[in-house]
Subunit: 203 residues, 2 copies
C-alpha cells in the first residue's frame, strides 16, 4: 500500500473513531470523509463498506475486552473479578456511543481474541466460588450488556454515570444469595446458537 494511502487510512480512522464515539454508528460517511480532510471516494477506496470501517475502528476493543477478562481472572476474589470485568465492558460502552451500538447490534464481527472462552472461565470461576447464582449461565451476560447499554443510551446526556446504579442492581440480582429459591427462572437461557446469532462476535 502506498504511503499516502496509509496516511489517509489513518486520518479516516481517527475521524471515524471520534464521530462514532460522539454520535453513534450512523454518522454519514460524507461527514467522516470531510472531517478526515479526504474525499468521499477515498473513504470508499480504503473501506468498501461501512461495516469494514466499523470493524477497523473497533478492532482494538476486542483486545481490550480480552485484557479485561484476563485481569478479572487474576483477581483475588472470583466475584470481584466478575464484577470488574462487567464493569469494564460497560465502561467501554459508556465512553463510546459507537461501541455501544456495536455491543447492541452485534456489528463488530470476529471473535474478540478468544474473549468468549475467557468469559466462560470468569463465569465458571464465579460459579465455583459459590458467589454467582447457579442458575445463571454465560449466555445471560448478554442481558447485562443489552440492559446497561440501553440505560447508557437513555441517560448519557442527562445523567452520565447513572448506568452504574443500574449495573449494581443487576449484579445484585446475579449473586447466589439472590436466587429466588421458590421457583426456577421462567425461561431457559439462550442457547449457544442463539447467542451466536445475536452477538456474532461471541460465536
Amino acid at each position: 500500500m502506498r504511503k499516502d494511502a496509509v496516511h489517509n487510512r489513518e486520518r479516516l480512522l481517527r475521524a471515524a473513531r471520534s464521530l462514532f464515539a460522539d454520535r453513534g454508528l450512523d454518522v454519514p460517511l460524507e461527514e467522516i470523509a470531510r472531517t478526515a480532510g479526504v474525499s468521499i471516494g477515498t473513504l470508499y477506496n480504503r473501506f468498501p463498506t461501512r461495516q469494514a470501517l466499523v470493524e477497523a475502528v473497533f478492532e482494538d476493543r476486542t483486545a481490550t475486552v480480552a485484557r479485561l477478562a484476563e485481569e478479572a481472572l487474576t483477581a483475588d476474589d472470583a466475584w470481584e473479578g466478575f464484577v470488574a470485568f462487567l464493569t469494564g465492558v460497560c465502561e467501554l460502552q459508556a465512553a463510546d456511543l459507537g461501541y455501544n451500538d456495536v455491543a447492541v447490534r452485534g456489528a463488530a464481527g470476529g471473535d474478540p481474541a478468544g474473549g468468549y472462552s475467557l468469559m466462560r472461565r470468569i463465569v465458571d470461576r464465579a460459579h465455583a466460588s459459590g458467589q454467582l447464582r447457579a442458575d445463571v449461565t454465560l449466555e445471560d451476560m448478554a442481558f447485562v450488556t443489552w440492559g446497561i447499554a440501553a440505560t447508557v443510551r437513555a441517560t448519557f446526556r442527562v445523567a452520565p454515570g447513572a448506568w452504574r446504579r443500574h449495573l449494581a442492581l443487576t449484579l445484585d440480582g446475579l449473586r447466589a444469595s439472590s436466587a429466588s429459591q421458590t421457583r426456577p427462572l421462567p425461561a431457559p437461557p439462550l442457547t449457544r446458537e442463539q447467542t451466536a446469532l445475536l452477538m456474532p462476535e461471541c460465536g
Copy 2:
C-alpha cells in the same frame, strides 16, 4: 368531522397500529397510507405530524398501564403486585415493537392517566411490606423498562420470551434480601426532573 374523514382516520390508525407493532416506530408514512388504502395527503390531513399519529395509536396503552397498576395495588401481596405490574408493562413492550420504541424513546407524550402516581403507590407499598429493597426508588423502574426493552428488541425474532428470564433476574436484584449490605449503590437515583426529561410521559 365528516364521516369519510372519520372512516379514513380509523383506517389509518389500524394500518399504523399493525405496522408499528411489527416494525417499530420508523415505518415510512407513505407505507402506512398505502396500507390504509389512502393517499399520503390524507394521512397528513388527519395527523399533521408523526408524533400525532403515534400518540393516537398508543393512546389506549396509557389506560392499560393504569389498569395494570390498579390491579397491582389490589394484589394480596405487595411484592406480587409489584412483579405483576412490571411484568404486564414488559408484556406490552414485547407484544408491540412500536410500543417498545415508545417506552425507550419516551415518545408517547401525556401522562398515562395518572400512571405515575399509581406507580409510586405500588413502589411505596412494596417498600412498606419490606420486600422491595429500601435503597431503590420509583425512578429506578426506568432501568427495568430500558433494560427489558433492549432485551426484547435483541431477542424477539430468535428467542421470544427470553426477556422473561432477564426480568426475573432483574426483579431478584430488587428484592430487599438482595441489597448489598456492605456498601451503598454507586450512583444516586435519577431525580424527578431527570426522569421527566427522559420519560416525558411520566412527568
